[in-house]
């Protein structure tokens, strides 16, 4: 618990720093721990409802646990026509989970996302925000094996 407080405290005096604090939490844990929201509310002097409202408004934030490697697949139109659906199928098959789920060992989470701005080489996926370009089902094993 005190670890959250230390992270959040750093942003306390920055105007509008709540979102920056959430980014910092997510950099540390890959998600925003539920308990941290109550702490953030106290530190920023807002209601818990408000702090929760901010955290859940933004799709880049995830409240509650997820895997160490968050794989996001872009489903915007340019990636869609380039074959994103096959990439989704390959990822689901190889990890044995469905989109939105986390593997039993807590290593991988699969999520849909919208455009990540790398449309020169579609379809695009990101692994912990790092973009992988021109992704095809054949490239998936290689990308997964990089996650060690």
């Amino acid at each position: 618990m005190s670890a959250y407080i230390n992270i959040i405290q750093e942003y306390k005096d920055i105007p509008g720093g709540l979102i920056e604090a959430y980014h910092a939490l997510q950099r540390e844990y890959n998600y925003i721990p539920e308990d941290a929201i109550a702490e953030a509310a106290k530190i920023f002097g807002v209601s818990e409802a408000r702090a929760y409202g901010v955290a859940t408004f933004y799709s880049y934030f995830k409240v509650g646990e997820r895997g160490r490697y968050v794989i996001r697949i872009c489903e915007s139109a340019p990636c869609h026509v380039a074959g994103a659906a096959e990439v989704v199928k390959a990822l689901e098959q190889q990890l044995g989970i469905k989109m939105g789920e986390t593997t039993g060992d807590g290593k991988f989470t699969l999520e849909f996302c919208e455009c990540v701005g790398q449309c020169q080489a579609t379809p695009v996926i990101t692994v912990n925000s790092k973009p992988y370009l021109d992704v095809s089902p054949e490239k998936i094993p290689g990308i997964l094996s990089e996650c060690q």
Binding site: Y60, S76, V81, C113, T122
Partner: protein, 407 residues
Amino acid sequence: MAEEMRIVLRNYGKIDPLNIEDYLKAGGYKGLEKARAMSQIDLINEVKKSGLRGRGGAGFNAGAKWSFSYNTGAEVKYVVCNADEGEPGTYKDRIIMENDPQSLLEGMAICGYAIGAQKGYIYCRGEYPYVVDILNQAIDQAKAKGVLGDFDIEVRMGAGAYVCGEETALIESIEGHRGEPRFKPPFPPVAGLWSNPTIVNNVETFANIPVILEKGADWYSSIGAKSYPGTKVLTLTGDVNNRIFIEVPTDTTIRQVIYDFGGGIPDNKKFKAVQIGGTSGGFIPESLLDTSIDFDSMSGIGAALGSGAVFVMDETRDIVDVVQRITKFFEHESCGKCTPCREGTKRMNEIICRLNSGQGLAYDLTTLEKLGRVMSVACLCGLGQAAPAPVLTTLKHFADDYSAHLN
């Protein structure tokens, strides 16, 4: 054969973006120096005279916008750079920031001097953490070099909300709130960030400013289309041979963009449609390809220049299937503040899904059209107002695709 003209991307590939000395050697910060030797009024008039209009989508005259903030006489004002590019198929702001971050900082500092602001924020989308690092390094170098004077710039990171591209939603987000658009008026140039006068301009708009100062308003206004002068950075995606970014004068035609620069459609297939300006742009058929890409010409055909994304579809694409992706996007990205958008995007997606699965009736098409028309006037912000454009333009230009799906 049309040719590129690089103004915004003048330093692309020529300088080390992480070395301010390179930027200075290429003539960087001369524009700011020149601006500071002018009176604020003269500076604003010069920008106004150049005819530069916002490159973020709304196309408002940049100098005129600045004059609103200048005229307020408030003590604290802000300059905000909208680097939250979230329009699917768009990555031009990333290219600018990755390759020439100092030109953005210089443009913001010029704006700061013009309106009398000491503080600037760059709101960079959360999907670009690596760009945030570049911007922070560039700011550190500019501060160490003293080129920004008393103007301070801070980077804030967005967190994946498309609606934050709308300027009042973006301001809410910098303030640490949910990114829900505000009621207007007051407009941000009068009351924006923490209720202070705030100029929000796009990355590409700011990157144009130093060159305009250096070469003059007359030079700039003579480039491209008269009512929307200068260049536009475009990103080509979809069924096009060259999936590249280009910067072209604004009187270039859509056909030139797709065929001269994009190299046409792959595998000898035929062109079917192009959607310009991102996911909220209208779909354009073959018969309108000779339209110039400038803001007003695009509005004239019921489309939009928007972010400059150019998404090409060949003859094998099922328009209804592509539109379903788009209506799902808007249902997800609607912030939920106003009813026409929250409910409208949901119902629109519902109907399109029904059509796409072959369960739709002719009646659905009439409903879609009516719903779209209502949303485009009744929604609170640009997101909801533009969301029906892909549906309305495809109903108009690609009616056969819809008929083929009817039950």
